[in-house]
Amino acid sequence: MANYRIMVIDDENVVGRMIKAVIEQDPEYTVETFLNATPALSRLKEEKFDVVITDLKMKGLDGMDVLRHVKQDSPGTKVIMITAFASLDSAIEAMRGKVDDFFPKPVKIKELKECIRRLLGN
């Protein structure tokens, strides 16, 4: 049985916690959560992740920085962006074609799971 590694970066700890708890019900997935992009990116250097889920608006490095680093360092890794519902259309437009998918808040965890499954090709 395949084991997929998933990373969640969001400065709201509830988000990471809930995604981890729900998705890890399926033993195929291992989820690591980070409140900040910086430690997350250094973790990405040590270990290969299959999917990175990141919030767009964060203090310090934001979702776009994460996207750039991930696509540079490990092009095979899929990136899912979580955006505030009120994010400007232009910001979403800028991400289109660069991210593998994006979810506006509030995020439906079931849909997220579907999306991960699709991106991983099964």
Partner: protein
């Protein structure tokens, strides 16, 4: 009077003076010319008179018979010359002298004529007349001729001399006249120029001052007395420009307000987005994991949901505070009482964080018009920020003192906490600007700023990273007209 009118007036004045001087000198020169022409004529006359006297001498001494007609010939020549140049002579010497000249001429002619007739008679009656009588008569004629000739010559040379001195007088007189008129023209020209330059420079200086104050952003109508010249219209233009600018300033402030409402709305959406997302996540997690959760864990989920709603409530409350600034209930108050009351309200936090508070409150400060609750909110916001910026053992100093420019009151809240980086300083009063992540709304200073503005006061901040921050508020003193 307009400046151009003044200049025209001064120029007209000068031109008039110059024309007057011109006329004056023309007249003088004309006079000099006339006199000179007369002296020329007089010279001619004198020459012929001299010749007449010579012939006269010839006649009497040598009995030259041709001498008398010669004299008569010369006399009539002189006479016609005098008649010809009568106008010039009259102009130069006057009618009376001319008359006199004519008369002396006439007298001489008569004397000569009688001498001639006496001579002819003498020749004709040579035999019949006794020698003595002849001689006596000849003597008398000779005397009268000599006398008339003498008179004529004397008269003419006297007049000539007179006219010469006249000409001299006129020339030297016109010299002083011209000099005087030069001074008379020059002094007003300089004085008028000076006067206009001074007045213009004065007005320019005023305008420069006005322009300077406008460039410093002081659009309140420039208080310039409007003079009636061109600069007056410049000043009027400046006044209306500064009025327009201050109108525009209000529009700009208005649009800034609108912009901040825009920022606010976007901010609210963002701020609300996170707790809403969290609640949604918690609900989904609760449903998904329900069976595997213990009773304790389920309760914790609900506690977390409640905390998130608390966050939402806080945001909405701050938003309401901002968007609906409650009608301020202004009363006359001493600021120190409000400071002390606010400190009591944050006392608990101060104790927990182990922060020292120093109070430096001045006595005898003027009363200010304020809404106690609102100003209290401002002080609490600032004190809370200062406490949050400090670490145990740090100090906060609250100072009240008379306003720098005499009126009003100043309150300073200074801490020695971590300070505000220069790049954050311009934004600390912006809505939702916070460095405290999810635990700050970033509305504290924004709301405080609005309250202070509503009190016609001002608030500003100085800070150095690592040394602390200092917020200074200025309140205007209440005036006689304010209700208690």
């Amino acid at each position: 009077m307009k400046i151009s009118h003044k200049i025209i007036f001064a120029n007209v004045f000068n031109v008039l003076l110059i024309i007057l001087t011109g006329i004056f000198s023309y007249h003088l020169l004309d006079l000099v010319l006339t006199k000179l022409r007369f002296t020329e004529i007089a010279d001619d006359l004198n020459k012929s008179f001299l010749e007449m006297r010579l012939s006269e001498k010839n006649y009497f001494l040598y009995g030259d018979g041709a001498a008398l007609p010669d004299i008569l010939q010369k006399l009539s020549e002189s006479k016609s010359l005098i008649e010809e140049t009568k106008d010039d002579i009259v102009k130069a010497t006057g009618e009376e002298n001319f008359q006199q000249l004519n008369e002396s001429l006439e007298a001489y002619r008569e004397a000569i004529e009688s001498a001639q007739s006496g001579g002819e008679a003498g020749e004709a009656l040579d035999e019949s007349q006794p020698q003595e009588a002849e001689n006596a008569k000849a003597k008398a004629v000779e005397a009268s001729v000599r006398e008339a000739g003498q008179k004529l010559r004397e008269f003419s040379s006297r007049i000539t001399r007179l006219e010469r001195t006249n000409v001299n007088d006129i020339i030297s007189g016109s010299r002083t006249g011209l000099l005087t008129s030069l001074v008379v023209i020059l002094i007003p020209a300089i004085a008028v120029g000076q006067l206009i330059a001074r007045r213009m420079l004065g007005s320019f200086k005023e305008i420069e001052k006005a322009a300077h104050s406008i460039s410093e952003g002081n659009f309140s109508k420039v208080e310039l007395k409007v003079s009636s010249d061109e600069l007056g219209s410049v000043i009027k233009a400046i006044n209306s420009m500064s009025e327009e600018l201050s109108n525009r300033e209000e529009i700009i402030i208005q649009s800034k307000k609108l912009a901040s409402i825009g920022i606010l709305t976007a901010g609210v959406a963002h701020e609300l987005g996170n707790p809403l997302n969290n609640i949604s996540m918690l609900a989904q997690g609760y449903r998904e994991l329900y069976d595997s959760l213990s009773r304790e864990e389920r309760l914790n989920f609900m506690v977390e949901v409640e905390e998130e709603t608390e966050r939402i409530k806080e945001i909405v409350k701050n938003l309401l505070d901002f968007s609906k600034p409650k009608e301020a209930h202004l009363i006359k108050m001493g600021i120190n009482a409000v400071i002390e009351k606010s400190l009591k309200l944050v006392q608990n936090m101060i104790c927990i964080c182990n922060i020292e508070v120093h109070l430096c409150l001045s006595d005898g400060l003027p009363l200010v018009m304020l809404d106690v609750h609102q100003i209290q909110e401002v002080f609490i916001n600032l004190l809370t920020n200062a406490i949050q910026a400090g670490s145990p053992g740090d100090a906060i100093t609250v100072t009240s003192r008379p306003g720098e420019d005499g009126g009003g009151v100043e309150v300073e809240i200074r801490d020695n906490g971590r300070g505000i980086p220069a790049e954050h300083l311009p934004h600390v009063f912006d809505p939702f600007f916070t460095t405290r992540g999810t635990s700050g709304t970033g509305l504290g200073l924004f709301v405080s700023y609005g309250i202070i503005k509503n009190h016609h006061g001002s608030i500003d901040v100085t800070s150095e990273v690592g040394k602390g921050a200092c917020f200074t508020m200025r309140f205007p003193a209440c005036t006689e007209g304010d209700r208690n």
